[in-house]
Amino acid sequence: MSLDFLPINILTSLQKLNLDKLYEIRLRKDYPIKVCYEGIYRYLSKNGVTILATESIICNQQDIENIINNVTEQSIYAYNEEIKNGYITTVNGIRIGLGGDCVYDNNGLVTLKNFRSLNIRIAHVIKNCSYKIFERIVLNNEIQSTLIISPPFYGKTTILKDLATQINNRYNYPLLIIDERGEFYSISGENIDAIRYSDKYFAFNNGLRALSPRIIITDELITESDWLCAKSVVDSGVKIIASCHAKNMEQLTGKKYFLNSIFDKYIVLNNYGFIDGGFTIYNKDFTVQ
């Protein structure tokens, strides 16, 4: 994993950590840098991590600007569509959430400026982490349309990435990844096609027609359009595996745009930072499997 877009003082400190256990780096102007390391938020210090704010490295405006310039290769215009959505993704799939000021004109949001906070989400590929889930979503050798549910940071994307790999390895039919934010950058395979950096409406409609997938994998169904696209895919006979932010089934079914005719299985992740375990599977009729 390449974090060379970070300023040298931060990078030097991070090199003292086991990057496999690093999930998040949070930078806020004039405040100590925090990292989520081994699932716990701690301060980043010269010697690694610390619980003492006094020993922490303080983030300044220049650090934030340097990171933005490095990730965008000093070409913000080339990343503006992502910036308007509140994030940028590095070339190797690390997503950086942006906090700053929105700029509007008559046509709507133009860009974000005066960045003051960054949330660097470290993408992980954990081999076979979806194995238990995979076994439970196959029925008569057919993958069931499945929605993975959890609050942010429970490992939904990591599971989706591994599911894509599992399906690619075990089935010989085309799989389409709709990767709005470039987070599936590291996933490829002989059966995998990917549409990246596109909104879901375009990707679902064009991907379905042009790439004829049997399964579509995508992250985060949020808007009404996302749900309707997912429904049209399932109505076309294609299976879909997606994720959605919710704490439990009650929250999911209470969502304004939720459609209950799309998915055969619902997987609720129970543990923060998942990967090693807890999930509950619900059937189409919301009964526990």
């Binding site: 290769e73 070409s75 080339a78």
Partner: protein, 153 residues
């Protein structure tokens, strides 16, 4: 012996004249490349939106302007050893590099357009100066060299 010294003086004089004249050519070439790059980046921003380093890697030109800009994007520092740009022009170049790519498409479009106007002006001044002084310096150097040669005889 005097003839040889005279010839040497003539050659030195002509070389100095050519060196001075070359500065005007280099200056004009610099602004020519600068203006070209500005046009390329204008097209890039409104169409394919590649990042500047990617764009630069596809440009084979390696004159002073491109050497400097490629070095700027590789090493992230401005370094231009110039004998033909004045401090105002150097500052303009530095400011350009510091601003280009640092905002959204619309703002960049406006910036590039305004830079383009200034660059056209600078290029026409550089071209005019080259036409005016290049041949003058060469003629003068030949003349001074000949006088030195005659004096030596």
């Amino acid at each position: 012996m005097r003839i040889i010294i005279g010839i040497i003086l003539l050659i030195i004089s002509v070389l100095i004249g050519c060196g001075l004249a070359r500065k005007f050519t280099k200056r004009r070439e610099f602004f020519n490349s600068f203006k070209d790059f500005n046009l390329i980046i204008q097209r890039e921003i409104s169409y394919s939106q590649s990042s500047i380093p990617k764009l630069l890697s596809s440009i084979e030109n390696n004159d002073d302007f491109y050497k400097c800009i490629k070095r700027y994007y590789t090493n992230k520092e401005f370094y231009f050893e110039s004998t033909y740009l004045n401090s105002q022009e150097l500052n303009f170049f530095k400011q350009y590099l510091m601003q280009i790519g640092k905002s959204d498409k619309t703002s960049q479009g406006k910036l590039i357009e305004s830079m383009g106007e200034q660059l056209s002006e600078k290029l026409s001044v550089a071209t005019e100066l080259e036409q005016k002084y290049k041949s003058l310096y060469i003629k003068l150097s030949v003349l001074i060299g000949l006088i030195a040669f005659i004096v030596c005889l």
